[in-house]
């Protein structure tokens, strides 16, 4: 090596070492984060808003259910239980008057005491601003305060889903101070009655919720979202981590104590790893292929039946999720173990037959018009499923125009009945059947046949649980004969939690009251 090259080599090496030295300067103890009474929860991204009333976004409800509470909630068996109310409502014999007693001593995060006036204002706001409230609004005659601790909802006609709508944590009938309500606009400030209150929100960085010392808990043993609630952890910090691989690495490294919505293939990375436990949430959700019942080629019911017959949902599920541990080819809209499960009325599910599909196509008078199916790579499982669906439909004789869009475009385009014939989406588990989007006649797809309208009205009028189940079965039969949508099957959610996180209850919308952090 000549003199110059030795010197140059030394200079280059020096520069490299300086760089490395600079990088290693902070490489001492791991992460320097001793969580103590703080847990960091990695979520799939930044929520579009923190107002729980105006949106049905799951991400929003996961966070805001710690801040806001509703009159009722659900226990582990998805049965209705009181939350801000002190008991379940007294319903008049004609099913039109709901008298709701309120818990006394409930305090808002601003220190003020909750009154019936606040509840009335909150419910009025919900009826105007929430997608779920708007579903109930046409049935509601008035909401009044009978006394300081009692609210009365008068209906124009019996409407059985009301209590479930009031219990949902998204599009939520959140009880807030009357002073923060401004007509149908988003809440002016985020003040609730929950076990945690909002401390700080730095978009794309973190949302800090801290224990609310003035919290008044419902009584009774904890069960699902119901029963006693205690904020044992001082601070719950939600951090948006859009990259799923990073959420997996973060929980493995101990940076996050909980990571939500992980890819199925990450399950293997948790096996044999000390300190982290995978959490599989069942039931969680179901992918749907929504068809346009109102306009275009799919308005033809026979053609929709042909689609149902042409598809093999098991293949679609496997393509979407890869691991059989995370899927169940289940046709009943409600999963086994839930109150509305019924396999018999879902029999056409999975009766896959290419020749039968081709016959149905002929009977439908199909002339090879392209079927415009919208999908999005933003939800990879939906995209993969739509590829399999495309292949299966083409094998049966359909001509498919698969349109791959970003999610925002799909959401906009689906509102235009002339722009599409089918689209892929998914639905998170909801405890009340009438809350399933497809049941709403204004939801894109516009399933609103006279038979469905009548069956749904009868179901909504029925107050007796056993009779409601029988009426739901009739709706499910219609779902499979009129085929407004195709339920592809059940899928489960993978999350992961640190071993230090104890008393955590797996639910579709993870919550952290009653959970604790071991030292």
């Amino acid at each position: 090596m000549t003199k110059v090259s030795r010197r140059l080599f030394t200079a280059a090496l020096g520069a490299a070492l300086t760089t490395t030295g600079m990088l290693g300067a902070w490489s001492s103890p791991a992460l320097a984060q001793q969580p103590g009474s703080v847990i960091t929860v990695a979520t799939i991204g930044e929520p579009p808003t923190l107002d729980p009333v105006g949106t049905t976004s799951d991400l929003v409800s996961i966070i805001t259910q710690h801040i806001f509470e509703t009159l009722f909630t659900f226990d582990k068996d998805w049965q209705l239980q009181p939350l801000v109310a002190s008991a379940l409502p007294q319903i008049s014999a004609d099913g039109k008057t709901y008298t709701i007693p309120l818990r006394s001593g409930v305090t808002f995060h601003d220190g003020s005491k909750m009154t019936a006036e606040d509840v009335v204002a909150s419910l009025d706001h919900w009826l105007k601003a929430s997608p779920r409230g708007k579903t109930a609004a046409p049935m509601v005659d008035s909401v009044t305060a009978k006394d300081a601790n009692t609210v009365v909802i008068a209906l124009k006609e019996p409407f059985a889903p009301l209590t479930a709508l009031l219990a949902m944590n998204n599009g939520a009938a959140a009880i807030v101070p009357k002073s923060v309500i401004d007509g149908a606009n988003p809440l002016k400030s985020l003040i609730g009655t929950g076990p945690y209150k909002l401390l700080e929100h730095k978009p794309d960085q973190y949302i800090r919720l801290v224990k609310f010392d003035g919290y008044a808990s419902p009584t009774g043993p904890a069960s699902g979202y119901a029963g006693s609630r205690t904020a044992k952890i001082g601070e719950v910090r939600f951090v948006p981590v859009p990259n799923a691989a990073t959420r997996v690495s973060g929980v493995l490294a101990g940076q996050y104590q909980f990571a939500d919505s992980l890819p199925a293939e990450a399950l293997g990375r948790f096996k044999g790893v000390a300190g982290v436990q995978p959490v599989i949430v069942k039931p969680f959700g179901f992918p749907l292929m929504i068809m346009n019942s109102k306009a275009g080629v799919m308005a033809n019911q026979k053609l929709r039946q042909a689609v149902l017959t042409a598809l093999e949902p098991g293949d679609m599920l496997l393509a979407g999720f890869g691991d059989p541990a995370f899927i169940a080819p289940e046709g009943s809209i409600y999963a086994p173990g839930t109150p509305y499960y019924d396999a018999a009325s879902a029999k056409p599910y999975g009766e896959h037959g290419l020749s039968k599909a081709t016959e149905l196509l002929k009977a439908a008078g199909y002339k090879g018009e392209p079927i415009r199916i919208m999908t999005s790579t933003q939800y990879e499982f939906l995209y993969k499923m739509s590829l399999v669906a495309q292949a299966q439909l083409e094998a049966a004789g359909f001509k498919v125009d698969l349109q791959v869009l970003d999610w925002a475009t799909l959401l906009q385009k689906r509102g235009d009945e002339k722009a599409w014939d089918a689209f892929f989406t998914y639905h998170t588990f909801v405890p009340e059947p009438s809350l399933i989007t497809v049941m709403n006649p204004s939801y894109p797809g516009w399933w609103d046949t006279p038979a469905k309208k009548e069956a749904l009205a009868a179901f909504n009028r029925e107050m007796d649980p056993a009779a409601r189940k029988a009426k739901w079965v009739e709706i499910q039969k219609l779902f499979y004969s009129e085929v407004p949508s195709i339920k592809v099957g059940e899928f489960y959610n993978l999350a992961a939690a640190s071993d230090k996180l104890t008393n955590y209850t797996p639910t579709p919308w993870p919550f952290f009251w009653n959970a604790d952090l071991k030292n």
Binding site: S57, P203, D204, L411, T437
Partner: protein, 313 residues
């Protein structure tokens, strides 16, 4: 030089106006609706129409554009639809992270790329040169997200030397925040160091073949002085250009790395805004990024005069 700077800044105003118009049109032409995103997938068309009206998105495009130009004239970039704060504030909150990440990654790229590039040129055709070029080719070919995920796997998860992601806890010290940027800076710096290395090598090879370098050697000057004092200075103009461009691109172009490391930087802000159709943020952020891009290029042009006395403005 003053006249030159004033002329360039005036040109910049024109560029900004064109950028403002183009971004406005593109953001609106692309389908998608912030109201639909905000309301969630269960929202009905009626809910979406009501929110659009409240946000002023149902106004004619021309009316929206005139309003937007009026805001820009008052140096007001508007308010984010989703973030519940002015766009300027959203950008300011992300400027520290983006500035530091750009500095650190450009620093790494320069500290590796320039010395190794010089060495490679000085030892042209020898094993050092071949090895450096091979490694540079590899570094340039490997995507930064893969480097990022590999660094996370070994240095953050296995060895726990660095945090996996994020920009530190709310009470994190400046040092801790810097520590969160080390892995992303390496992931961004390595591919860019390869680019700088190749430019440095090529530029140095051009200069090392010049007559004046041969003369310097013939005079008996030490090889180190010939390479570092005589040759390097004249080779600096293309190197400065590529360093400037690298820095400019990183301000908004570190999107993939920011996503992998969960960093709330400017790139992440722009991508989130595009996915949510947060028009004011898309417009404001791209306008500011374009201005920075133009300013960096102007600074690089001015630096030419510093390294090369023949350049006069």
């Amino acid at each position: 030089m003053f006249v030159y700077i004033v002329r360039r800044l005036a040109g910049m105003m024109v560029v900004m106006l064109i950028v403002a118009a183009v971004v406005f049109v593109i953001a609106r032409v692309v389908p998608g609706d912030p109201a639909a995103v905000m309301l969630g997938s269960s929202a009905t068309p009626e809910d979406i129409a009501a929110l659009r009206s409240r946000l002023g998105l149902d106004q004619p495009l021309l009316a929206q554009f005139i309003l937007y130009l009026g805001q820009i004239a008052r140096f007001d970039l508007g308010d984010s639809i989703f973030l519940n704060r002015p766009v300027v504030q959203a950008l300011a909150e992300r400027s520290e992270l983006t500035g530091l990440l750009t500095l650190m990654s450009v620093g790494i790229a320069v500290l590796i790329g320039v010395p190794v590039g010089i060495l490679s040129a000085a030892k042209r055709g020898r094993w050092i040169d071949q090895t450096a070029l091979g490694i540079a080719m590899l570094a340039a070919s490997v995507p930064s997200f893969w480097i990022g995920l590999t660094l996370i796997k070994y240095l953050a998860v296995d060895l726990t030397w660095f945090p996996v992601a994020g920009y530190g806890a709310p009470d994190a010290s400046f040092g801790e925040r810097l520590r969160h940027l080390v892995l992303p800076a390496i992931a961004l710096g390595i591919p860019n160091s390869a680019l700088i290395l190749r430019f440095t090598r090529t530029s140095m090879l051009d200069v090392l073949g010049d007559d004046y370098v041969r003369t310097a050697r013939a005079k008996g000057l030490p090889p180190m002085v010939v390479v570092l004092k005589h040759a390097l200075r004249n080779a600096m103009i293309p190197i400065l250009t590529v360093i400037g461009l690298t820095a400019a691109v990183m301000i908004a172009g570190a999107i993939v790395t920011e996503t992998v490391f969960g960093l709330p930087g400017v790139g992440n802000l722009i991508v989130s805004a595009v996915l949510r159709r947060d028009y004011p943020v898309i417009q404001g952020a791209l306008l500011v990024v374009s201005a920075i891009y133009v300013l960096i290029n102007l600074s690089v042009d001015l630096l030419y005069a510093v390294v090369d006395p023949r350049v006069r403005y």
